[in-house]
């Protein structure tokens, strides 16, 4: 039986006999087989896999959580956008006509987004209402509060420190304007701090990504060493370099994937644990701010980053070490 099939097959090359569809199906079959095989090999040595994966998880969770922290700080800044206002105090003796003139002058400034006028009466009412000194205020002979304009600058003025001073100068030049006051200085400081934080995140992320490459690369190097014999035999029977490389690339990708899933878990649990306390704290300051965690999209991005780092790490190791394995 074997002889007759040999005689038939001898006519054509092995490849020529399989149709294109069959070859595609076989390629898919091979990929899924290799993938399953890589999974099985990782499962066969759970301790080693777990150790590598947890190192990757820690290396990924560090920059990722720092990134989230900086991102939270930025959200915190944005929630205080209304605080970046300029308060303009007008002379107490200014007439109604002068006040409306000032208002039109303020509206003409390009950097000004909105102008709100608060008359002394309104201010007094508000103060009486909010401060609890209502009855004491009755003893005042006249209203000591000046007319006030609340100015909201354009968004770009809020961002750029060097544009704030010229704007203040412009406002001070208007007649009857006594004083200007801004309360965005602390916000700008916070902003600079988060910018530094961002840079640290990038630097740390870069270094730790390199670390992940090395970790995966080293682990793949050991695997290659352990499967040396198999590689030689595969090469002897006509396996291409791509064929030899494939299982290692899958293993590396899987390691990165598992590590990234671990990192996502660390972050989600950590932020959940922290979130309660932050919510309590911000309630004490009657703020709406809540710590936001990784989210589904963030998890997916993190896992994708981990998988591609794993793939690149194994690619580097495979290209470097397979060259040294030649059939005798």
């Amino acid at each position: 039986m074997a002889q007759s099939s040999n005689a038939k097959g001898r006519r054509g090359a092995v490849e020529a006999k399989t149709g294109l569809l069959g070859r595609i199906r076989a390629a898919f079959g091979h990929h899924s087989h290799t993938f399953q095989d890589s999974l099985k090999r990782l499962a066969k040595d759970p301790l080693q896999t777990l150790m590598t994966a947890s190192v990757i998880a820690i290396a990924l969770s560090l920059p990722a959580s720092l990134f989230l922290a900086v991102d939270n700080a930025r959200q915190f800044e944005n929630s205080f956008e209304s605080f970046s206002q300029i308060t303009v105090y007008v002379d107490n003796n200014a007439s109604q006509k002068q006040i409306s003139y000032i208002e039109s002058q303020l509206r003409d400034i390009v950097e000004v987004a909105s102008v709100i006028y608060i008359s002394p009466d309104q201010a007094l009412q508000e103060f009486t209402h909010n401060s609890g000194f209502g009855s004491a205020l009755k003893y005042l002979e006249s209203n000591p509060l000046p007319p006030v304009f609340i100015i909201e600058p354009m968004a770009n003025v809020v961002l750029e420190t060097n544009q704030v001073q010229p704007l203040l100068a412009k406002i001070s030049q208007i007649a009857e304007v006594e004083d200007t006051q801004i309360d965005m200085l602390w916000l700008q400081r916070l902003r600079s701090l988060t910018q530094i934080g961002q840079k640290i995140v990038f630097a740390l992320g870069f270094v730790l990504a390199l670390g992940v490459l090395v970790i995966v690369g080293n682990s793949i190097r050991l695997t290659i060493h352990g499967r040396r014999e198999e590689i030689i035999v595969v090469k002897l029977v006509g396996g291409t370099d791509a064929y030899v490389r494939r299982p290692f690339l899958y293993s590396g990708m899987l390691m990165g994937l598992i590590g990234a899933m671990g990192a996502a878990l660390i972050i989600v649990v950590g932020f959940w644990w922290l979130g309660g306390s932050v919510a309590q704290l911000s309630e004490l300051y009657s703020s709406q701010f809540r710590l936001h965690s990784l989210g589904v999209q963030g998890c997916l991005v993190l896992i994708a980053v981990g998988a591609s780092l794993g793939l690149s790490g194994s690619w580097l190791a495979v290209t470097r070490h397979l060259k040294n394995i030649k059939p005798r």
């Binding site: 039986m1 074997a2 040999n6 092995v14 069959g22 091979h30 090469k235 396996g239 064929y243």
Partner: protein, 226 residues
């Protein structure tokens, strides 16, 4: 089918393993390659497997010069060959079936086709009942037969064997040789390196004797007697 023209191989250390070899092995021929160790048998087979490149001369396989074959074409070339090793080079961490399936897997064959061909090859060497075994559980002779099944599963046109009976007793060796004879009968070109003179003489085939890197003796043709 296999043609050596003035072929020499000098190793990096200056050792000249083959000196101006001229040989021609026809399609469907079974030839033995013999000689003392160090005479150049292994080097000749390595050149055929493209594990080594010749220093000078030309090597024609099926009319094609393979001296200058690009590295990325080597896998495709090796798939045309079947190779049997002295130490059989089986992978002990997988079954007999998976070992034999390897040349088909690397060629991207479908699972169905692989199953069919592997069973045909194992049937041919009389080991169909052991496809699920690990090679570790088999005897030396059986392991070598698995190696042969792997060498022929993809129906190569050329079958090379490097001391295939080196570790076997005479009875088993004769069995292995009979197998090779059967592949020759269906048109495969078979080249066997062996120093087992008694066995070779029994086969009544062409014998190429190498001595110090040169062809010392080349004679006889395969009779049908065995």
């Amino acid at each position: 089918m296999i043609q050596f023209d003035n072929l020499s191989k000098r190793y990096a250390g200056g050792f000249e393993a083959l000196k101006a070899i001229n040989l021609n092995v026809n399609a469907g021929e079974l030839a033995f390659l013999t000689g003392h160790s160090g005479a150049g048998k292994s080097t000749l087979l390595k050149l055929l497997m493209l594990l080594e490149r010749p220093s000078s001369g030309t090597l024609l396989i099926n009319g094609k010069n393979i001296n200058r074959l690009a590295d990325n074409k080597i896998p495709a070339y090796r798939r045309q060959l079947g190779v049997v090793f002295q130490d059989h080079q089986l992978l002990m961490d997988r079954s007999v079936f998976d070992n034999v399936a390897l040349p088909l897997q690397v060629a991207g064959q479908s699972r169905k086709e692989i199953g069919r061909r592997v069973r045909a090859a194992l049937d041919g060497v009389g080991l169909l009942s052991k496809e699920r075994h690990s090679p570790r559980m088999l005897s030396g002779g059986e392991q070598q037969r698995v190696g042969i099944a792997r060498a022929v599963v993809h129906k190569p046109r050329i079958l090379l064997a490097d001391e295939p009976t080196g570790n076997l007793d005479p009875g088993l060796s004769a069995e292995i040789m009979a197998l090779f004879r059967r592949f020759q009968d269906v048109g495969v070109t078979v080249l066997i390196a062996s120093h087992d003179i008694d066995l070779i003489n029994q086969m009544n085939c062409r014998i190429i004797r190498l001595e110090q890197g040169m062809v010392a003796d080349d004679g006889g043709a395969c009779g049908s007697v065995i």
